[in-house]
Structure formats: C-alpha cells, structure tokens
Amino acid sequence: MGQITLEKVSKTFGDVEVIPPLDLTIEDGEFAVFVGPSGCGKSTLLRLIAGLEDVTSGKMIIDGSEATTVPPAKRGLAMVFQSYALYPHMSVRKNIAFPMKMAGIDPAEQETRIEQAAAALNLTDYLDRKPGQLSGGQRQRVAIGRAIVREPAAFLFDEPLSNLDAALRVGMRMEIGELHKKLATTMIYVTHDQVEAMTMADKIVVLRAGVIEQVGSPLELYRTPRNVFVAGFIGSPTMNLIEGPEAAKHGAHTIGVRPEHIDVTEGEGTWSGVVGVAEHLGSDTFFHIHQTGLAETITVRAPGEVSFKHGDTIHMTPRPDLIHKFDAKGLRIE
C-alpha cells in the first residue's frame, strides 16, 4: 500500500519560500511524475516526501498514517538518485544488500531477494563488481535493485535518467515503465523532460515556482492545458502561442495551436509566411516559419515528406476545433 497525501505542505529556505502550501494526493500504485523547469521545486518536493528535508508547515500522510516528522529511514520509501548514489566501496551485491542489512533481514532471505532482483535487472554477472567497474546503465540498474529489495511502499526517482546518453535513456525509460507494471507499487518520478513525463506517467504534476500548475493524465494535459504555462510546457515541439488581433478574433487574449494541428498548403490558407528552416525527418517535416504577422516564429509539424524549403512562401490553416484559448491571466477559456 502506498498512498501518499500532502496537506498544505510548504517549504521555506531562510526567507525564500520554495514551495507555498500545496495539497496533493498520489494514489496507491500510481506512477506520478513531477515535471517542470529547473528550479521549480520538484526535487525539493520529492525530498520532502522522502524525509530528507523537513516540511516548514503542513502534514505528510503515507499509507494513512502521519509521517510528517518520521525520519527517512522509517518511512518505508526507496529512492533512486540522479547520481545513483551507489556505495563505491561495496560490491554490487553488498550495495543491494545494504538496505536489508540495515533492516536486519535474515541473510538467507537477503540472498534470495538479491538473486531475484539481479535476475530481473540483468545484473547476475556483475554482482561481485564494484560500482566503478560498471557502465552508466548498469549503475542505474543497481540503484533500482537496491530500491526494489526493500519492498518499499513507494519508489522515489530523482531525475534518474539525466546522466545517461540518449539511446540508453529510452531503454531505461521502458524498463522502469515495465517494472511499475510488474510491481504495481506507487512511484514518484521527478524530471524536467516532458517527454519522459508524457511517456511514463499515470498522473503528471506540472510545477512552476513551487506551485502546482496542473495535475492530470498525460492526454488531459495535452488536450486541455489549464493555462498558458502548461500549454507551452507539454508537447514537443512546443505549442505556438499567438497574442494580439488574431487572438482577439477568437475572443481570447492568447490563442495556442500545436504544430501538429496546423495544415500547410502552397495556395490558400488562413495564415501565410516564409519558411526559415525546414527540418526533414522523413516521418515528419518541421517548418519554422517567419513573417507571419502572428509571432516571431510559427512552428508547424507536417506528417511525412513535404517539400517546402528555405525562402518559400507557405500557407497555414489551424484546425478550428483544436485552437486553445486563454484569457489575460493566462487561464484557459472553455
């Protein structure tokens, strides 16, 4: 069981309020991702849940019992750190055994769990090596192994993939996803990468300056961003945000159109502009279009191979039902 509830939790460092009071519930078995730009307080929030930092005010409830002042060792949570934080002087086996040793688990049982974890994480051949002799991906798996064997109420991941190269990152992303399906344990995952958030999460929590901007499933955030910030943060390439007369036409202060929701043609269209850069990926073509009179650059994602090039005039038509409207405060207008 791993339901985690934060009630009016806040955190200040000295005079700086990093997290104003916030409420949040993460359900048992849920994969929740905290996402936001760097410095948004997402890691601090995770460390508050871990107990590595004290909350300044508010209550933290884990598994239905108050855990606000419980030290990290007694919260029954496991954490995977950005740097993996493996113990460099211990072998992989001892690293994985460490939390069980601390918990005083019977050595035979320890051995069984190590074997199981190693088998699940492809680490069986490396059990007697030191972390220094492992690749980045293997270290990552050891860190996960160390977390699994504790059978924690929830896993906490602090940007675990940011030290891996791009190819490995995709692989590990899927492994963590599968692990979640298999264990069905609550996981809280912090990242600044919205692609990771979109691909892994059951529930995304978008944070900015310590404030929760929106909570929802990936597609909810994609389809109905609550404000301009979420609209701009979720989705790649980012949503085109247009202000001024064109927005006024729709009765809004700002309108937003995702690049994939604009159709391009050689002839007629709602808007027009000149192609600055055309990126041909094969599966898609990205156009960065200037001189539209709407915004400095409008980005369009056209499926397949479309052969406009630098300097061509291009016409664009946004799909009317997929235009997002926001008021002067940046909030969504339904």
Binding site: L52, E53, D54, P71, P72
Partner: protein, 288 residues
C-alpha cells in the same frame, strides 16, 4: 539542506570538538590574562596582588624588549624572504621535465620531516661547530679562519637553520600551485609573443600570488613561535632572543609570571593580527 533530526545530531556530534577547543583556548588564556595584571613571583613571595597595567608597561619598557622585537622581525623576515624566493625558483625548476623528478622531490621535502631539536643540534654541532664542524673544515681547506657561527653570526645562523626547515614547505605548496597553472594559458601567452621573463611576470607570478600569501601567513604564525631551534642552539644568547623566547624566559627562567603573562598577551595579539589575514583567505576559499 537537512532535517531537524540531522541538524540536532550535527550539533551533538560537533560538541566534543568545540567544547574541548573552547576549554583549551579559554581556560589558559583567562589565566594568563589574570596573571598579567598581578605581581606574581612564585619563588619570591608568590602572588602579591593587583598591579593594573604595570606588567604591560614594564614588559615593553624593559631593555630586552626592543632588541627582542628586532630579532623577531629579522628572523621571521629573513626566513620568509629566503623560503619564498628560493621556493618559487625551486618550484619552477621541479615543474620542468627531468629524469628522477620523484626522487628529487623527496630529497627537497625531507628537511620538513626532521624534528626541530634534531635539526638544530645537527646544524649546531656537526656543521657549525667552530672546531670540528664541517663548515670549519671547509673554511680551513680554503685557507680562511673558521667562523664561530652561533656566536659571531648567531641570527644569520638561526635564519639559515630555520630556512632549511621551512624551504620544503614553501616549495611544496608553490609547486602544487605551479602545477595547477593551465598549460594552455602559458602557450597562449607564448603565441602572443611573451618572452620567458614576461611569462613569469604576467602569468606565473599572478597565478602564484594566492599561494605565496598563504605561505607567508602560515609560516609567519609558526615562525613567530619558533622555540626549539633557539633553545637548543644559543639558549637565547648572542642576540637571538625573540619575543616568544623572551616570554619563555620571563615565565620559566626568571619565574616572573605577571611579566611573562603580559608578554604572552602581546604575543597573542600579534599572532591574531596575522591570523585575521590568513583566515580571510581561507574563509573566502570555503565559500567557493
């Protein structure tokens, strides 16, 4: 970045070290301060009461005070100049490519590990003895009259002994600093047309400035209180009485505790003035 738990644990774990050092500093210092205001002669009447600043005035106005200040300044200054100048040259030399660098380094560092009483005695007898010392043999070999080092050139001799002990320290620190200089910076300046001397003046010396300051400050603190080198060689005779040796004599030899304590307070103040500069530098480094 921590919790209340770890903060209180931290305070608790820091306590022994802090309390011990606090006691070590405060208790004797308070006693010294107290004695410094009293006429206290353990062998001649004991504690004879409060005398105000009398001891402070007498310490400064005694005939041995100014010579002791002068000796202290000459010894500290002389050793600093010698160790820093030769330290820089040696550091630059040791940084060059050569065969057996590691061995040379070891040879150069060795004197630092020789205990002060040993180095003082070895120099005094085996080298500087006017009859049997190695220098005397050497002088005679060239037809000169052997020098009575520790009586005729006593201060210079002590400067030499102490410099020999501290040159390794200066060299080692300056060498570390030289090695941290980015080689590309030197190559860039070479490309910009700087000649070797200019490279030294514009690139190397500024880079070493901080290390030199640290060497000067740390050595000053240790040199202000050199003891064994004087105790063993001249016993403070022949104009080698430094301020701290003078205080030592007032306290232990003439057993004038009040006077010695007043001198001790002067020494503490003097050391603190130097220490403030050193701590500024060290403190800045802590923030980085």
């Amino acid at each position: 970045m921590a919790t209340q738990h770890s903060r209180s644990a931290a305070r608790l774990m820091m306590a022994p070290a802090v309390i011990l050092l606090l006691g070590w500093m405060l208790v004797p210092l308070t006693m010294t301060l107290w004695f410094s205001f009293r006429r206290y002669l353990p062998l001649r009447g004991g504690d004879q009461g409060w005398v105000g600043f009398d001891n402070y005035v007498r310490f400064v106005s005694s005939s041995s005070f100014w010579p002791a200040v002068q000796t202290t300044l000459i010894i500290v200054g002389g050793v600093l100049v010698i160790t820093v100048v030769f330290g820089i040259l040696l550091a630059l030399l040791l940084d060059q490519p050569m065969w057996g660098q590691g061995v040379v380094r070891i040879l150069v560092i060795a004197p630092f590990f020789v205990m002060p009483t040993v180095s003082a005695l070895v120099w005094k007898n085996i080298f500087m003895d006017p009859v049997n010392g190695l220098f005397a043999h050497l002088w005679k070999f060239f037809g000169a009259t052997p020098v009575e080092w520790l009586s005729q050139a006593s201060v210079q001799s002590i400067i030499m002994i102490v410099s020999w002990q501290w040159l390794p320290f200066a060299t080692l620190i300056l060498l570390t600093a030289v090695q941290s200089l980015d080689g590309e910076q030197l190559e860039a300046s070479e490309m910009d047309g700087a000649k070797p001397l200019q490279r030294f003046g514009y690139i190397i010396l500024p880079h070493l400035a901080r290390a030199i300051t640290i060497v000067v400050l740390i050595q000053t603190i240790f040199l202000l209180s050199i003891f064994a080198e004087i105790f063993v060689t001249t016993g403070g005779a022949f104009g080698t009485k430094t301020l701290s040796y003078l205080i030592f004599q007032r306290v232990l030899e003439s057993q004038n505790i009040g006077l010695g304590s007043a001198g001790g307070i002067y020494a503490v103040i003097l050391a603190n003035i130097v220490a403030i500069f050193l701590m500024r530098i060290v403190g800045k480094n802590l923030d980085a």
